[in-house]
């Protein structure tokens, strides 16, 4: 295995690629009780249209997530229970562009790893269990319907994008999941759960060579070429709709501001875009900016105010949101501050401070095995090395951040999504 030292952050990473195309990364963590394994496919809620065996296929919203639930089924029962019986804490999640299965355990790591690799790679979907799952996922969707943070985030995406599939609810709807059959799941498993489209990331006090050997032993010996996907025609630069609104049983309005940006290219560009995007948010409306102080003092935001940036194939945006008595006033103040920065630039001392703070936060994030493995997987799919962030970070300048703000934070690229309290709540 190839070993790489990241001395600045005190980490080292072992890497190899198997004959079947699977990339394996291991971050040894002596001194910790637990080990963590994350097995992910480059397949998420947005991957609904793709070409398999020369044929274009359209699948219903929510398949990737449905598949995630049902993949735990095995011919002998359920892998969730097998792992739990070994004392492991297993789980899985589906995001816009990735589905990941993982466990954390303090004992029987190798046995648990074999179970993980085996159940994810061997499909076992029956119509009976698919029918039953409709009820469980139906309730998960209903739960999401009552979660204002979930609703407002999708509202913002709907506002920003005319047709990009990133705006489609990952869980789907009760109607869309009703169309899913065992055949749909088998088809999607074959298309996307191929070793060449997957990655295995492990952190813990484990032997990297054993990890790779187990993957080699359990997984299929060969893979197939990547499946072509279709996300529709390229999005324009402007927000599709400037505003989105909905009423729910909440105490105060909950809002999400989105700023549509140009998606980065795969590779180091992607990492640069993320680091710059986060710094741009910090410089525009982070907790140490004059704008945040003003909004907080005027009672327009509270400590739940949060911000960040996300990039997907064909879509990227900055966003900020939380609770506010007057989301329109927040929107106006943020756009005015962006205009001021366009004219006067970001304060130099502020920028230096923010950079130091952002660096510390990135390094502190390496305490979490989950954070390391999930970021490693996402960066692998986006074509860069996550742990190389200190070097890329060093080269980011104030001008880079200003350019990002000038480009993305304009009225035409902005959507404001708001959940308003419904009469009768509280």
């Amino acid at each position: 295995m190839e070993e790489k030292q990241y001395t600045r952050v005190g980490e080292k990473l072992f890497h190899t690629v198997l004959d079947n195309g699977l990339h394996v990364y291991v971050d040894p963590k002596p001194g910790f009780q637990k080990s963590y394994a994350f097995f992910a496919t480059n397949y998420g809620g947005m991957d609904m249209r793709f070409r398999l065996d020369g044929r274009w296929l359209d699948t219903p919203a929510g398949v990737a997530h449905f598949l995630e639930h049902k993949t735990f089924d095995t011919e002998d029962g359920n892998a969730l229970q097998d792992l739990a019986a070994n004392g492991a804490s297993p789980n899985a999640f589906t995001s816009t562009a990735l589905t990941g299965y993982y466990f954390e355990s303090t004992e029987k790591f190798e046995e648990n790893l074999k179970i993980l690799l085996s159940f994810v790679s061997i499909p076992y979907y029956t119509q009976e269990s698919v029918d039953k799952e409709q009820g469980i996922i139906g309730q998960e969707i209903r739960m999401g319907d009552d979660e204002p943070d979930t609703q407002v985030f999708y509202g913002m995406l709907e506002g920003l994008y005319a047709h990009s599939p990133i705006q489609v609810n990952i869980a789907g709807t009760v109607e869309s999941i009703a169309q899913i059959t065992a055949d749909t799941l088998n088809l999607c498993h074959r298309a996307f759960y191929d070793p060449g489209n997957m990655v295995l990331c492990v952190a813990g006090d484990v032997d990297p060579v054993r990890v790779a050997a187990i993957a080699e032993e359990v997984l299929p010996k060969a893979g197939h070429p990547p499946v072509e996907r279709d996300y529709g025609e390229a999005e324009g630069t402007q927000a599709a709709k400037p505003r989105w609104e909905k009423e729910m049983a909440v105490s105060t309005p909950i809002f999400q501001l989105g700023f549509k940006d140009t998606p980065p290219k795969k590779g180091e560009d992607w990492l640069r875009w993320e680091l710059i995007g986060n710094l741009a948010c910090e410089a525009l409306l982070g907790t140490s900016t004059p704008l945040y102080a003003k909004l907080y003092n005027e009672g327009l935001v509270n400590e739940g105010f949060a911000y960040g940036c996300e990039a997907y194939p064909g879509a990227a945006f900055l966003c900020a949101g939380g609770e506010s008595r007057d989301p329109e006033a927040v929107r106006a103040a943020v756009l005015a501050e962006a205009e001021r920065i366009r004219n006067q630039g970001v304060d130099d001392a502020l920028f230096q401070r923010l950079k130091k703070a952002a660096y510390g936060n990135l390094v502190r994030g390496l305490n979490s095995f989950e954070n390391i493995c999930v970021n490693q997987a996402m960066s692998h799919f986006a074509g860069f090395a996550y742990l190389s962030f200190p070097e890329v970070f060093d080269r980011i300048t104030k001008a880079d951040v200003e350019e990002c703000l000038c480009r993305a934070v304009t009225e035409k690229r902005t959507t404001l999504a708001v959940i308003r309290p419904k009469g009768g709540a509280q």
């Binding site: 001194g31 105060t252 510390g360």
Partner: protein, 426 residues
Amino acid sequence: MSAVTRTQLLPGVFLTSVHTKKFKSSVLSMTLLAPLAEGDAAANALIPYLLRRGSERHPDLQALSAALDQLYGGSIEPMVRKKGEAQCVGFTGSFLDDAYTLDGSGVLDEAAGLMGELLLRPYTRDGAFSPDYTRQEKANLIDRIRAEVNEKRSYAANRVVEAMCASEPYGVNRLGREADVEALTPQSLWERYQQLLAHARLELYYCGSAELNRVCFILQKALAGLPREGGYTLPACTVIPAAQTPRRVEETMDVAQGKLTMGFRTGGITAASPEYPALMLCNALFGGTTTSKLFLNVREKLSLCYYASSMLHKYKGLMVVSSGVEFANVGKAEAEIRAQLEACRKGQFETWEVEGARRYTVSSLLTLPDSQGRQEDYWLGQAVAGLTEGPEEVARALEQVTAEQAVAAAKSLNLDTVYFLKGTEA
């Protein structure tokens, strides 16, 4: 590997210190302990938020954020927690460990100094808290209290506890009541703050690479000027072993999914009881894991819900079952939850269920020292309850629990209150 020590630094001031080099960050917390009481809860809850607004040297948010940026993006968060019948208010901070700074400079000394400054030397006006800050933080606290309803899952779990403990201190909301917040003034808050400083026990926690001697020295320096005038004691948490005649509470809201929560008394078993490990095992078996009876039956077998689980309030002696169900299915869900508890009481479980529950619980205890945040919260709870057992000791006791002991714990559970949140159209 990591050593936990407990030291008295000053009268009524105790430090729990964990010396370890495995993290990239150090965690530091300062927490004042007050008896949970309706009359004081609102003021106690507001004080850390008010202190976090500014100090003598850093009079506003911007100045504080700038200072934290210089400490590599360290965080100092106001905390308001309920541990048994104590209201725990103060700050938790996380900072880059000294080993990872860009220039080798130390962060801990300054970080502790800043936290001590926030606790002891607030920004004042006319010998009391700033009227502006008071007004703003009162509004924020009221928003926070009102916002509890936004997350229906946790809201329903809290409501059942409030209902069953309505005449006990434990039923007091950790954030206080809205009307009590309204009545607070800069002067009344100042008086309450002086009382806390003089008479409340102060719990300190540190986890990181610094040696104990250095931590003691730094914290003593940071707390110079802390008035200590006696008191420091907390009343013991009241434990009611047997439930009253079971009550039902229903609430109506405009929601898509119903929430059913059931509150049980544990027959007097708490974290201090010799039977506690048996109760932990019983809880895991019944509803604490993905191999539990609730998960396998209420969710997987009957597809009634996305989640059905149980959790212990270990210092108070309660168990709460939570579930999200379709309105029409609430009767079915409740009957099944009761039936599953009955099965536990009759010892109707397989060996793999017991061992799965045991492995899961042992593992979650053994991984606790791998997370600085979880450890901090664990040791605060133990300190409040006057307990000294670490997670490893509890894990060892769990290994010895027999199935009969788990059955005995299940038999001691008795239903106190059932809460149901239903929709307007149900």
